[in-house]
Symmetry: C2
Subunit: 345 residues, 2 copies
């Protein structure tokens, strides 16, 4: 585990670990840098600054510092006017809902997106811009709570391994329990853990954990002044203690199930207003027909004391605290029903 300052900082330094690991392999398993590597990196030139790339997904959000911003493509206002570089970007699955009625289409969607991942890696590898790693969120949160199937992620990991690229799972929004498991990727039953998992937000402190394989072999490669904040670690310790003591992961699953079931009923009652209900634990969202309707719903909910956020183009996202209980879910559902009736009348 390395602690960092925030989620973006965690992703930046995790990517550096990936690049160092990839070059270590390329050099044949050692870090005895040549003089040419040493001199050229100080001039930002290859081979010291190699033209390695990271594959990310459309709709992803990984942060707002330069490197993580290259991997981000959820909202233009975060990126416009900032220089960037040519790193590969694949399409993330866009499922049809309800899932159980669209099994075949959604599996084909997985196939298409994963084929694009493979093609892009082959293309960039061939063009002298090797793909050292793949970065993805287990749920594209900022991009609209876009979910992909456990099978998608298992196949993605398989491709990463075959292509010699590291798999970085960005759990900045999803980590810490809101999906009903401590890490969202635990839902995917992956063959092995992701090579790196980054975190922040609910974890109080930014940082990442990683496989021993990806650990830098020589010191001073990943470092900054504060390397996180001990004070925040104390806060995290207290959070984790309460999370265990009060069985909050179990509570999240219970309250999430109540919220999900109620929203399913509301969606069935108001098919012109709600669609694509999806979620894990209390990490739930549902779409409106347009951004305008969505903003209207969010505002009306707020007037009734329910604070939801918008996500993506037309999504409403629920992000209750880990202490959210079934009776809170019933209050939310009651107010939500009132708003939907107001809009329908």
């Amino acid at each position: 585990v390395m602690t960092m300052m925030c989620g973006s900082c965690a992703n930046e330094h995790a990517l550096k670990l990936v690049f160092g690991w990839y070059r270590h392999k390329q050099r044949g398993g050692h870090d005895q840098f040549s003089q040419e590597e040493i001199d050229s990196c100080l001039q930002n030139k290859a081979p010291g600054s190699p033209p390695l790339t990271i594959l990310s997904f459309q709709g992803a959000f990984h942060g707002r510092t330069f490197g993580s911003l290259v991997c981000t493509s959820s909202k233009y206002i975060q990126k416009i006017d900032i220089p960037s570089i040519d790193w590969p970007r694949a399409r993330f699955p866009a499922y049809k809902y309800p899932l159980e009625e669209n099994l075949r289409e959604n599996q084909q969607e997985d196939d298409k997106c994963l084929a694009e991942v493979e093609e892009l890696i082959e293309k960039y590898n061939k063009n002298g811009k090797p793909v050292a790693g793949i970065i993805t969120e287990p749920i594209q949160a900022e991009g609209g709570d876009n979910q992909a199937s456990p099978e998608f992620f298992r196949r993605l990991q398989k491709i990463a391994k075959e292509k010699g690229a590291a798999l970085l799972m960005d759990e900045v929004q999803t980590g810490g329990g809101a999906t009903g498991k401590f890490w969202c990727h635990e839902h995917f039953d992956l063959e092995s853990p992701p090579d790196i998992v980054t975190f922040s937000k609910k974890m109080i402190i930014g940082g990442f954990y990683h496989s021993t394989d990806i650990m830098p072999k020589i010191p001073y490669r990943v470092l900054n002044t504060w390397m996180g904040d001990p004070g925040r670690l104390l806060l995290l310790e207290a959070v984790l203690k309460v999370l265990k003591r009060d069985n909050l992961l179990s509570l999240v699953r219970e309250s999430g199930a109540v919220l999900m079931e109620g929203l399913q009923q509301l969606q069935a009652q108001h098919p012109t207003l709600l669609s694509a209900l999806r979620g894990r634990g209390t990490f739930i969202s549902v779409n409106c027909p347009s951004a305008k309707v969505r903003d209207n719903v969010v505002t009306r909910l707020k007037m009734k004391g329910i604070h939801c956020g918008g996500c993506g183009e037309q999504g409403i996202r629920f992000r209750p605290a880990l202490t959210f209980q079934p009776h809170h879910a019933h209050i939310v559902l009651d107010r939500f029903q009132q708003v939907l009736r107001e809009l329908s009348s």
Copy 2:
């Protein structure tokens, strides 16, 4: 003022402000983005992700996240194996010491470095990679406590203005009082303040302040989850209170003068061991003939209870706390003299 997580984060977001400001000018003074800009930035392509650049200096250190690392070139271990981009880099003055005996050479050195700055900006502007800003430390700390004259910085600012580039002064190491002024660039008598000044370290929290001109015109362009840390602001408030109450800037100048004068005498007594003594306030350093001798001196000082650091290839740097008093300086000088005698005998 915007507060950030750390020094690197401060530089990253300050650079984003510079890019936004530059594009605002290029568009003719507005931020009404075209659809092409909006669409292309999500693909990391121009015009939305424009090929703008930042000019930095050889030997600079601005941080270890991707964008600030592109501007960094002090130590290879911080950069090797990490992809980078082609941004211009000029030579920073390398003065001959003692300064008073090398006035003409050092002025010529300024001329050469500033001519290179102008040439690089013209070249990059002509090649479709416009230089939106210049980033520099007032003293290149990590790179070896490399100092440049006030005149160098005044002329650099003049060039920046002529070329329409913003001047970003990175005071992450120098800010907060150690140079005898609160900001080191106050020593330079600049015609106007730098466009952006970044800080961290002694300031307890990362962040930057900037001219009103460079303020983003629309919201949501520079943002992150925590935007600094209110707890750290409370610590900073206490630091500033003590700094004023105890006249610490005045103390830094007084103790710095004692330390500097004593080191001058030691340098005169041991010309084969010490050279290029330089500094402002207590932000002082002196060179040894080699890294090996330097490391030896630093280790021997540590054994005598004096903690100094190495900087650059062969420099020893003094970085006492702001509460360092003249009698502390005498203790340091006494132990330093003992070490030099040991090495001479």
